[in-house]
Amino acid sequence: MEATLEASPAGDSPAIVADPVVDAIDRLKEKFPEAVTDDPREGYNGLMVNASQLPAVARTLKDELGFDYLSSLTGVDQIEDGKLEAVYHTYSIEKGGGSVTLHVQVDRDNPVIPSLMPIWPGADFQEREAFDMYGIHFEGHPDLRRILTWDGFNGHPLRKDWQEPFYEDAQKPFGSRWPEGNAVHRAEENNPYGKNVQYPAGWVPTGEEYDVETDMYSILKGNDGHTVDRATHMKTDKLTVNIGPQHPSTHGVFRMVVTLDGETILDLKPVMGYLHRNHEKIGERNTFLGNIPYTDRLDYLSSMGNNHGYVLAIEDLMDLDVPERAEWIRILTVELTRICNHLWALGFLLNDLGALQTPMLYFYIERELILDFFETLSGARMMCNYMRFGGVAYDLPDDVRGQPTMAFLNELVNERLPAALDQADRLMTYNEIVRARSIGVGFLSRQDAIAYSMAGPILRASGVNYDVRRAEPYSYYDQLDFDVPVFYNGDIYDRYRVRIEEMKQSIRIIKQVLPHLEATKGAPIISGKPQYAIRMPRPGEAYGRVENPKGELGYYVTTKRRSSNPERYHVRATSFINLTALGKMCIGHKIADVVAILGSIDIVLGEVDR
């Protein structure tokens, strides 16, 4: 139960000694001279890997070179070359620093790539997503089904040649539908009503000939009707229960198919995608700037953090500098968002443990203050749409809730929030029932947490000292003095405590930020003049990642020269990937624990389903 706050001193970047990324790339090329080459394209800095050699390369990368964390896995459609590409971002938990990026290209006609499931179980949902969106067949994946679209979906929607029923144009801004002032064309006419649903060949939509869910039910363990207990020679029936999609505690339209033996869970499969809107396709069609408000809607509880990751990726592509004041404001808003999100997460976790909303509503009191601040700052309480490339949209307001802004923030950080956290500690952390329900439940070991690509508080509750703010500092985090809270038991209780400690650290960060805000008063908040149409100065790829409250949030963006839209826009959605280990955490526990474990993962369905 002992908590240790492992401080890594500010500015001590491990990259100074010898860049582990360069080292790893060299050694990979040495070991696999034929299979691994530098990516020849301009602006790409990863490695091109031969598909057949991928598992061996990944195994070497993980076991020998220490790049043991598969952060992101996604597909890209290189339609001009007739190729489909899979992109893997791997990081080193131990050494921190940048990524070793692997690009694997296969033919569009026969896209088969070996699955990395045996090496990184965390590739599970991401490979299924790439299969769903691009039709890349991951050989060896035990359960390669569609994940975000439904089973009867026709085609693979992120392929560049796939067009949705009401298709208008490849990218925004769309041409006018009334160029002459008359109604000459409506989008609906592209595909009239009734004809806008396409079924794949052989699909019979009566539901009788082809049962949509047979595949899923058949893969569930213990769903073979009954098993015979060896000790008693008694037949025991297994019960398959669908928790959700309409259920009060799945945090949204989310479904878990659970096989039960009595009340004990034998197997669990998450089913998602009920809110899927193909955020990435929308993002590829949007202009760069026009996509910022869409990122708000991913994890709608922490929109500031979502903005931050996206603008970091685009600023990387544009080689844009951010003025000092803007950086401080960004850190302020992002850390406030973290507090906001954790208050919400803990409130709902306790709610899921059956504490009828009281803790949640207590946490709301402080959350309300933060949201009021966001409202005066950006005009919106939750969908802030606040950050811009090279800065932020607005300067700090003069006063908030009738108080001068700095006085308000000082009071918030020095009095209100610490008091609220103390109260939470006093009332809930040592509550007997909370401890009985959460200690030892939903255990995830250190190895599993890394292998399953867990991120954020879940990773750190399993004893992994990894925080993007420290491992690969962005913004001014390398100048700030804060600790990364790490707990070692990997259960619900430790995830709860990690979040409490993280809020305390966020308060500590904000306290350091406030003097800088005083000092830079009146300084510019955005570099250059605000621009609306951005032309990308260089082609290439960028992976902007931030430590969002729920964990590592990454944006993988590729673009062409002079392009106003991303070529590929992928979100490494924390909530989505954190669900990969849900089944593993739940097996063997009681059905009541599922809800608590799900609460401890802290998902937002907007981000899961995208």
């Binding site: 009340e263 059956g354 504490a355 009281t358």
Partner: protein, 366 residues
Amino acid sequence: MTLGQIALWGLVVGFIMSLVVITGFAYTTLLERKVLARMQARYGPNRAGYIPLPGRGKQERKLLKGFMQPAADAVKLFFKEDNTPAFADKWVYNLAPMLAVIPAILVLAVIPWAGDLPWLPEQYDYFAIVPGLNVAVLFILAVTSISVYGIVLAGWASNSKYAVLGGLRASAQMISYELAMSMTIIIPVMLANSMDLGVIVDAQKGGYYVFLQPIAAIIFCIAVMAELQRAPFDLLEAEQELSSGFNVEYGGMRFGMFFMAEYMKMVSFSAIAATLFFGGYRGPFVDQVPMLGFVYMFGKIFLGLFIMIWIRATFPRLRYDQLMSFGWKKMLPLAVLNFIVLAVVMVMAEEGAFDALQQAVLGIFG
């Protein structure tokens, strides 16, 4: 009194008390919502009905905002569509809500509400629907034990997995905690040497049994919470897991009847706890002014309800297996031990084993 008079008394008083408690149930829901809201930094229902007061200046002052909420709820429940799931077992599905409500009302029969009122019939020593029943405590146990049927059958008849799980949990939980409750309900019977609730109340003249037997009182209160499926023992309707469990398929007034049963049982079990351990209608000056008994009784019931609501607002829920092991491995052994120790001590005292000690103590102080 003839048999007919007894029956008439029972009918009239029973009718009045049932009305009182049914109204009381409605306001218990309001109390719960208001108290919960206040504990959670909210307002609670404050729209339906208020008493206008002459305001200061332009501002209108309103008293008791929201006091018509129960009436609004009742009207809403009555007019809601009352549908039956297609694959439900119609008979049992319709029977279950009634089986839930009937025991909740039946328990009221034996509860003494006030002492020897001047206008009571001569044979009656206290005011109750059926006074002087010499198996009153057993009656409570009997009625409690059949009150589980409403919930179990509702769960089964709904033909839904959640409801069945809720029903199964209900039966297991209620049977388990009934044992601990029975072991503690015996304590006041032993101390008062009667199963007549009026005698038990009168026997607490010197001191309430909660002071004599605090362990028994606490176990009884916990067991009652489990028996009522109140938080933190509300597993069978655990919203987070079973999305309200056994009554998930019910709507309209059939759901209302489950609701009604739950809150009426809250009222009646508060009354039973007050009677058995907290002196019932006894209180200062109750011998001089017997009407005060009603006041004390209602005060104690209110206190019981308040504590239940308070606990609901503050405690998370136990898990099912934790609940069971708590009931069987902690509560029941403790209750049995308490019972055995008390029995031994009482027999020893009767046989004079403590006489020497008593004399010694008296010798020191006397």
